[in-house]
C-alpha cells in the first residue's frame, strides 16, 4: 500500500510534466518573440547589411513565418526528438545541452553536497551551543560569506587559491580525462557552495534546535544514551526533512545560477549556454534549456519526495496520507 502510493505519486508527477513543459515553452517563446529584431540583428551585431540579406536570414530561420507556425515547427520537431539547431553555433540543441549538462550536474552536486556538509556541520554546532558566542559567531560568519556576490567570491578564490597559492587549476576542465576534470571542478564547487551556506546553516540550526527540544531527546538522554548518538542517529535524522527540501531547491536553483562561476573559471556549463542564448535570441537553445530545466525541477522534486520516505517512513502520498 505504501509502495503503491509512492508509485502512483511518481506517475502523477511525471504525467504533469507534459502540460508543464508545453506551458513553459510557450511562455518563453512568446516572451522571446517580443524582443525587437530577434536573432538576426544580434547575429549581424552592427555589420552593414541590406534587406535581401536580412530576409534570406529570416527565411532560413523561419522567422518570417507567423508566430504560431514557428512554434508548431519547433514543437513538432521536439515530438520527434529534434530540439532544433542553435542559431549561434549551428549545434543541435540536444548536443549543446548534452555536452554541458554533465559538467553542470557534477558542479552543482558537488557544490550542494559541500554546502550541506559545511552548513550542516555549522548548523549542528550552532544548535548544540545555542545562545553562546560560538553560536552567534557561526551564524554571522556563514551569513557574511553568503552576502558576498558570487562573482566576487569566484574572482577572490581564483586569485588567492589558484593563482597565488597554486592549490587549484586556474580555469577550464583540463585535458587529462575524468580525474583531471574532477580536480578542475573542485575550486568552482567550493565557490558554488559558499553562497547558500548561510541559508543552510540557519535552516539546519533551526531544525536541530526544534528536535533537541523534543521530549524524546530528553528521554533518550535520561536513559543514558550517548549524546552523540542522540544527536546524529535521532535528532538529525528527524531534522533532515526540511533540509532535504532546501537541498532540492538549491540543486534546482543552481542549475543555471552558476553562470558567474562558469564565466570566471571558463567552464562550459548550462549557465553560460543560457546567457549566450538569451543574448543572441537563440530561440531553439532557450527553448531547449527551459524544457530541460522544467523537467529537471520535476525530477528533482520527485527524488526529494522519495528521500523523504527513506528518512521518515511516516511520510506518505496521495490517499494513503489522508
Amino acid at each position: 500500500m505504501h509502495t503503491q502510493s509512492i508509485v502512483l505519486h511518481l506517475l502523477r508527477r511525471l504525467l504533469m510534466l507534459i502540460p508543464l513543459a508545453i506551458a513553459v515553452s510557450l511562455v518563453v517563446f512568446l516572451l522571446a518573440s517580443l524582443i525587437p529584431g530577434g536573432p538576426v540583428a544580434a547575429l549581424l551585431a552592427g555589420k552593414a547589411t541590406d534587406t535581401a540579406t536580412i530576409e534570406a536570414m529570416k527565411a532560413r530561420l523561419h522567422l518570417n513565418e507567423p508566430l504560431h507556425m514557428q512554434y508548431f515547427y519547433w514543437i513538432s520537431g521536439v515530438v520527434r526528438g529534434d530540439f532544433g539547431t542553435s542559431i549561434f553555433t549551428g549545434q543541435p540543441v540536444t548536443a549543446a545541452i548534452g555536452e554541458r549538462i554533465w559538467i553542470t550536474l557534477v558542479l552543482n552536486l558537488a557544490g550542494v553536497l559541500l554546502c550541506l556538509l559545511a552548513g550542516g556541520s555549522l548548523g549542528i554546532a550552532a544548535a548544540v551551543n545555542r545562545g553562546s558566542l560560538f553560536d552567534r559567531a557561526i551564524v554571522a560568519f556563514s551569513l557574511f560569506l553568503s552576502s558576498a556576490p558570487p562573482f566576487v567570491l569566484a574572482i577572490a578564490g581564483l586569485y588567492f587559491l589558484a593563482y597565488k597559492l597554486g592549490w587549484f587549476p586556474l580555469f577550464g576542465l583540463g585535458r587529462g580525462g575524468p580525474l583531471t576534470t574532477a580536480w578542475h571542478l573542485v575550486l568552482p564547487a567550493i565557490i558554488v557552495s559558499i553562497s547558500p551556506l548561510g541559508f543552510i546553516t540557519k535552516m539546519v540550526r533551526a531544525a536541530m534546535i526544534d528536535q533537541l527540544d523534543q521530549d524524546y531527546v530528553t528521554f533518550a538522554r535520561a536513559r543514558g544514551i550517548p549524546f552523540r548518538q542522540v544527536l546524529f542517529a535521532h535528532a538529525f535524522r528527524n531534522a533532515m526533512v526540511p533540509v532535504l527540501t532546501a537541498a532540492g531547491l538549491l540543486f534546482v536553483g543552481l542549475l543555471t545560477g552558476t553562470v558567474f562561476v562558469e564565466t570566471v573559471f571558463g567552464i562550459p556549463g548550462m549557465g553560460r549556454l543560457l546567457v549566450t542564448a538569451v543574448q543572441f535570441n537563440d530561440f531553439p537553445v532557450m527553448q531547449g534549456v527551459v524544457l530541460f530545466v522544467a523537467a529537471w525541477i520535476v525530477l528533482t522534486n520527485l527524488v526529494i519526495d522519495l528521500l523523504y520516505t527513506l528518512v521518515d517512513p511516516r511520510v506518505q502520498f496521495g490517499r494513503a496520507s489522508r
Binding site: 549581424l44 552593414a48 536570414m57 527565411a59 549561434f88 549551428g90 553560460r272 543574448q279
Partner: protein, 528 residues
C-alpha cells in the same frame, strides 16, 4: 687455472662495460625528439559556427587559419595571390581567377574549381541565407571552367576586387558542406579546409584545437598545434597570461592597459574601427545645423581618445581612418583632403554660441541607446552625457542589449535621434564606409545612414567612386564625398580606435595591420 677464469671474468666485465658505455654514448648523442611547438591563445567570446555564411564575426581569426581564401591581403592591404595564383579584370564587369592545382583539403581531397564556384555561390543563394550576402550585392554570377573561375558583376564595383580576400572569399569543401549544411562548422560537424591548419577538436564555450594540415600547399606555419581557449572573464584571462597558461590574446580591456602592460608585451596596431554618433537630420532639433555643430564642439575628443582609451585611439574627423588611403594615394594628398574637412576641436564657448544661435537656445532632452555589452561605448556615452550637459542637452542613456539596439537602426523609423555607431570596413576600400553613412541609398530600412543625409551631389560622387575601376580615382572621389558630407555635419565623429595584442613577455608580433585576421597571422608571432 683460477687466474685464467679471473682473466676471463675481467674481460667479460670490461667488454660489458665498454658496450654499456657505447650504448650510453649513442643515447646521449642521439638527436632529441622534436617537441611540438604549441600556441595557446586566449579568446573572450565563444566561437560561433566556423562557417562564414553563418558567422559574420571576429571568429575570422580562427577561420583564416583553416580555410584558404581566393586572395589574401598583404601587410599594406594590397591584394596577393592565395588559392588563386593570379586574377584579372578582363572588363569592368568581369573578373577571372586562375586557381592553383596543388591545393588539397585536409582530408586529402584536391581543391577543385567546383569547390571555388560553390563557395562563392553560397553567398548568392537565398536558401543559404548567408550573413555576408550583402558583400556580393554587385555579383551577377559565378562560373568555372578549366582552372578558371569567372565572376560577372551586375555593375562596376570598386569593392568587389577585395571581397575574395575578405570573409566572403573563404573556400569550402563542397562535398562536406552539402552533406550537412545546417550544422556545418559546429562542434558536431567540423569544417574541412585547405589552409595551414585543420580543426581536431571544438568544444563550445571551452576551446578549439587546430593542428597542422599535412596537405597544405603553402609554407608550413611555425606552430604544430594551436589551442584557442575561451576565457570570458577579463581577470581570468589576465591571470592565465601572467601564469603562462596562454601565450597571448587580442582581447585586452581598454580599462586595464596599465595592469596588462606590467605582465605582458602590449602592441597596438591600426584597425580602422570608427566610433561616432549619427544625428537624424530630418528630426527637430537635430535638423538645425547649429545644434549639430554645438554637439560636436562640446565633446573633447582628444580627452576621450587619450583618457578613456589609454592611447588606443585618435580623434576622428570623418568615418574613414586616413590610413585606409595609404598605398593608394600620396600621403600629402590624403593630408590635404583631411585638412579640408569641417572640424570641431573642443570649444565649450563655441558650442554655447552655436546653441544660442539654434532653434533650441535653452537646450533640449534626448536619449542615446547604448549597447550594454560594450564597455568602451558605455564609457564614451558617459563622457558625452557630461559634455552635453554643459550646453543644456540632457542626455538619457538607455542601456540595451546589442541586438535590439541595432534593430532600431535597421528599422529606420522616423525620429532616429542620436545613434552610437561602431563599425569597421571589411576591406581596405574607403568606399564602403562612406557609402554606408553618407549615401541616401542607405537612408532606408536595413540601411546604416541613420543621419538621413540625402544629398544628390554626394550620392553622385559616391556612385562614381563605387563604379571607378582605378583605386586611386575611387579614393579621390571618396575624399571629395567626405569633405562635402562634413559641411553638413551629419555625424559626430569621435575616434578611430586601434586594436591591441597582449603577448607573454619576450614575444613580439610585427607587421600587424588592419585585416590581420584575414591572414595566417600566427606566422607574425616571434617567440623567444
Amino acid at each position: 687455472m683460477q687466474r685464467g677464469r679471473l682473466h676471463d671474468a675481467l674481460s667479460t666485465v670490461r667488454s660489458a662495460g665498454l658496450a654499456v658505455a657505447a650504448i650510453a654514448g649513442l643515447a646521449l648523442s642521439a638527436p632529441a625528439v622534436a617537441q611540438d611547438k604549441e600556441l595557446n591563445w586566449g579568446v573572450r567570446d565563444t566561437p560561433r559556427a566556423l562557417f562564414a555564411p553563418y558567422n559574420y564575426s571576429g571568429d575570422v581569426m580562427i577561420m583564416s587559419l583553416i580555410q584558404d581564401q581566393l586572395l589574401t591581403f598583404g601587410t599594406g592591404g594590397e591584394l596577393q595571390p592565395a588559392l588563386a595564383t593570379s586574377w584579372e579584370a578582363t572588363d569592368p564587369l568581369t573578373y577571372v581567377y586562375t586557381i592553383r592545382t596543388d591545393a588539397v583539403f585536409s582530408d586529402g581531397t584536391p581543391v577543385t574549381v567546383d569547390d571555388v564556384v560553390y563557395s562563392l555561390n553560397l553567398h548568392l543563394d537565398p536558401a543559404v541565407g548567408s550573413q555576408e550576402a550583402s558583400l556580393f550585392g554587385s555579383v551577377e554570377s559565378v562560373s568555372g571552367e578549366g582552372d578558371k573561375v569567372t565572376v560577372k558583376l551586375k555593375e562596376p564595383s570598386s569593392l568587389w576586387k577585395y571581397i575574395p580576400a575578405s570573409i566572403g572569399g573563404y573556400i569550402w569543401q563542397k562535398s562536406s558542406v552539402e552533406k550537412d549544411t545546417k550544422n556545418y562548422g559546429s562542434p558536431q560537424n567540423l569544417p574541412v579546409g585547405s589552409g595551414p591548419y585543420m580543426v581536431t577538436e571544438y568544444v563550445a564555450d571551452s576551446h578549439v584545437t587546430l593542428v597542422r594540415n599535412p596537405h597544405y600547399w603553402g609554407t608550413a606555419p611555425q606552430f604544430d598545434k594551436i589551442t584557442f581557449t575561451v576565457l570570458p572573464d577579463d581577470q581570468t584571462r589576465f591571470l592565465a597570461l601572467q601564469q603562462g597558461d596562454i601565450d597571448g590574446t587580442f582581447n585586452v580591456p581598454n580599462t586595464a592597459l596599465a595592469q596588462w602592460g606590467s605582465v605582458a608585451t602590449l602592441t597596438n596596431f591600426p584597425s580602422y574601427i570608427w566610433r561616432g554618433l549619427t544625428v537624424d537630420m530630418e528630426q527637430a532639433p537635430f535638423n538645425d545645423i547649429h545644434v549639430r555643430k554645438a554637439l560636436n564642439y562640446a565633446i573633447d575628443k582628444q580627452a576621450l581618445a587619450a583618457g578613456l582609451l589609454g592611447g588606443l585611439a585618435v580623434p576622428s574627423s570623418t568615418v574613414n581612418d586616413p590610413g585606409i588611403f595609404v598605398g593608394t594615394l600620396p600621403q600629402a594628398e590624403i593630408d590635404a583632403a583631411y585638412g579640408k574637412l569641417l572640424s570641431f576641436p573642443y570649444d565649450l564657448e563655441k558650442a554655447k554660441e552655436e546653441m544660442a544661435a539654434s532653434s533650441v537656445p535653452n537646450g533640449f532632452a534626448t536619449t542615446l541607446n547604448v549597447p550594454e555589452d560594450s564597455a568602451t561605448i558605455s564609457q564614451i556615452a558617459q563622457a558625452i552625457k557630461q559634455s552635453w550637459a554643459a550646453i543644456g542637452v540632457d542626455l538619457t542613456l538607455n542601456m540595451m542589449p546589442g541586438g535590439p539596439r541595432f534593430q532600431i537602426i535597421l528599422d529606420h523609423e522616423p525620429n532616429l535621434g542620436v545613434q552610437v555607431i561602431g563599425n569597421v570596413p571589411d576591406a581596405p576600400d574607403p568606399v564602403q564606409m562612406a557609402l554606408q553613412y553618407f549615401s541616401s541609398v542607405q537612408a532606408v530600412k536595413n540601411g546604416n545612414n541613420s543621419s538621413n543625409l540625402k544629398d544628390p551631389k554626394i550620392d553622385e560622387v559616391l556612385d562614381n567612386a563605387l563604379k571607378a575601376t582605378d583605386p586611386a580615382e575611387a579614393a579621390r572621389l571618396v575624399l571629395e564625398a567626405q569633405v562635402l558630407a562634413s559641411e553638413q555635419v551629419p555625424v559626430v565623429p569621435l575616434i578611430w580606435q586601434k586594436s591591441v595584442v597582449a603577448l607573454k613577455q619576450g614575444w613580439t608580433m610585427d607587421d600587424l595591420q588592419a585585416f590581420w585576421n584575414m591572414s595566417v597571422w600566427v606566422n607574425k608571432l616571434k617567440t623567444n
